[in-house]
């Protein structure tokens, strides 16, 4: 029992440590401040989304739409800022309006998913597969098949949100850390986290225990939508543009991170810190592949696949016997 527990807890950590050791051996710059900042900052997008995904999955749901949603929100945020630029001028006010738009759009998008899943009682897989197609289409349409770009003057104003920070720690890292901490606290210390797990474990029981099951489910999707908005706020300053290729496959990465971190796909148990480790593992695989030569780039996907499976083998439960 305790050995099993330890492995499930230690598994992802071991995988992460192993990757770090490999990285450090392969390249002396791997542990440089610059590289660490790079890896952590870029993990923030998927990371912030994956924290929200942890709640959705814990409560027995799934969201395939987050990647397209991020693209759509990024496009919207850019359109709003470009549109208001003549009125508000390139300054903090406009940035704030852009952020607000992103958060609002995320909230609404999360609400729409939640509504269709809870009130209309459609499988989450189908709903979010549908909205995934819808958002991807909409951003392509908004961009007329091309790229939506933030006005160039505005870009310099907004750039610091991704590239600057305080005390040498960049904003995306700070925001990711805050979101993760908040998520961990809510999962473990707030009634909402418990209710999410209860709903995922057995929604009948939860309902009979006076938990408002639909409300909890709905909130997980809204919460995730808002976090997609937050991730987008970090993303737009980095690239200053959005297109139909923005956020492609983010949903799979986020879900993979959640599961690598030890959350159960069937719901009932979630671990936010595990998700953070899952996200870091996925980012590091990419980073390490870039540190080395000699492997055909065609095989990157294969190596990623193998490492993902290995990372999870480390934490599998013992052969069930009862």
């Amino acid at each position: 029992m305790s050995a099993k527990l330890d492995l499930r807890v230690l598994g992802p950590i071991l995988a992460l440590v192993a990757l770090i050791v490999v990285g450090a051996l392969l390249n002396s710059n791997f542990l440089s401040a610059g590289n660490i900042t790079n890896v952590l900052s870029r993990s923030a997008f998927i990371g912030i989304i994956a924290v929200g995904m942890t709640f959705v999955i814990t409560s027995g749901g799934l969201d395939l739409s987050v990647g397209s949603m991020a693209a759509f929100i990024a496009g919207l945020m850019i359109l709003v800022m470009n549109g208001l630029l003549p009125t508000l001028g390139p300054g903090v006010a406009l940035v704030l309006v852009g952020m607000l738009a992103a958060l609002l759009a995320g909230t609404i998008a999360g609400f729409v998913n939640g509504f269709l899943i809870t009130t209309m009682r459609i499988e989450a897989f189908i709903v979010t597969l549908g909205t995934m197609g819808i958002y991807r289409s909409l951003v392509t349409w908004l961009a007329d098949g091309g790229t939506l770009s933030l006005d160039f003057g505005m870009r310099t104003v907004i750039r610091p949100i991704y590239y600057d920070g305080i005390l040498g720690i960049s904003w995306p890292i700070i925001v990711f850390a805050l979101v993760a901490t908040l998520g961990e606290v809510i999962m473990r210390r707030a009634a909402f986290g418990r209710h999410a797990a209860a709903v995922g474990s057995n929604d009948q029981v939860a309902r009979y225990s006076s938990v408002n099951v639909n409300r909890v489910r709905m909130l997980t999707y809204v919460f995730l939508g808002i976090l997609v908005g937050v991730a987008t706020i970090m993303y737009v300053p980095r690239l200053g543009s959005a297109s139909s290729s923005t956020g492609v496959l983010w949903e799979l990465e986020a879900i993979a991170a959640v599961i690598i971190g030890g959350t159960m796909l069937k719901g009932g148990f979630g671990r936010v810190w595990g998700t953070v480790i899952g996200v870091l593992i996925l980012s590091l695989i990419d980073n390490i592949l870039n540190l080395t030569d000699g492997v055909s780039p065609y095989l990157n996907g294969a190596i990623q696949g193998v490492i993902i499976i290995l990372a999870v083998i480390l934490q599998r439960e013992r052969k069930a016997d009862g």
Binding site: N202, S209, S210
Partner: protein, 494 residues
Amino acid sequence: MKLTLKQVDRSFGAVQVLYGIDIVLAPGEVHALIGENGAGKSTTMKIMSGYLAPTAGQVLLNDRAVTFADSQAAEAAGVVLIHQEFNLAEQLTVEQNIFLGHEMKRGLFLDKRAMRDKASALLKRLDCNVSPTATVRDISNPDKQMVEIAKALSRDARVLIMDEPTAVLTAREAESLFTQVDRLRESGVAILFTSHKLDEVKRISDRMTILRDGWVVGQHPAEDMTEDAMATAMVGRDVSSLYPVRTRAVGHDKVLTVRNLTVPGYADGIDLDLHDGEILGLAGLIGAGRTETMEGLVGLRAATGSVNGKAPFPNPRAALDAGIAYLTEDRKERGLLLSKGMRENLTLQSLSDFTGLLIDETAEDAALTRAIADFDIRAPHRAVTVGNLSGGNQQKLLLAKTMLAQPKIVIIDEPTRGIDIGTKQQIYEFIHALAAEGKSIIVISSEMQEVIGLSDRVLVMREGRIAGELSGDTITEDRIIRLATGLDGRKDAA
């Protein structure tokens, strides 16, 4: 608070299961609801506590008609139901389950310490020493039941309704529960409970209502009713001789020889022999490891040692091929597919007997017809989803399913849990009939009387080992208890 049902009817689709039910639950009174399996006890209780709405008639609280939108509304009004089947989130801890939906908070955050303390206190009151931080999936059935009870107690019920709360409890645990019931009665709570253990009904209730086929057929003060009278009122015939007389002697051929069977963590060095036509009782306290031993024997758990001179079965299929079937004590999680129909459940274990290239559905239907008759399964209709069968009828279906595989050796874990007394008699007769055919049976039961009444020979387990063997006249309640608790028998039990 007083709760009244007035002329309550309830139908499921075209099938009516309750007819004009009148019951009054008075504060400070323990009311028992008894009746055969499927009589409508659980349905009545669900209506009282807002889980189901009546199709006709009224629910009154303190003489005022109420309509509970759902169970939360009932609970808010002080009416709490403990379900017949467990109603716990398996992946959550004991403490998380007890306070689910009613978490204690300090500011924005959960007050975990307070909840853990209160959970401990509640469990202690019930003499249950399961840890509040244990995951429910990992605790035993009796402990789950105690957690259910603790959960209900934590809700400060004014009307407490308990649907077969003692079905999975031992006499000792049931006694702790009744102590709490006495306390609640004194504090003016109105209590309704049901049980198929009529001695308990006698012991704890002040009044009783007897249901038959959805009708109230009698309401009496408890002191007016003997157990026999209750049984007769429920079943409509005399059931005083519960245990049939053996008609055939135990055979001489050993059909099963187990040596040094060890299930890591649960059982250690178990030896046992079984003869043809024998009924072997396996007694012991809950947690003694009887279930795990037998699960190890039939390949459901990793085990070492020898079974008939060979290694233990690698999987239950191999055991079944060797003619050994095990009937689980946990019908909800391990016994039946609750979302499927009776036919699929009945034939699941012996599907190959119904399959040439394809499944012979006509033969399956015929088997179901036979099972319904043989085991007296009362279902609203043949296509019913098994989860909608009454608890006792689920148990009968489970028995029918195991027997359909035509095992030569049957291991039955808690054969009559939740079974009404009339059917109990039928099941005992059935077990005897099997033995008379030369089949051999191992019965695990926490009901002392059942072990004594049925068995030719009894093995008593304690802490994973065989503490002693009793046969013939030595099979007495006293001897079993002494062995089970360690007063007699092997002292080296670890």
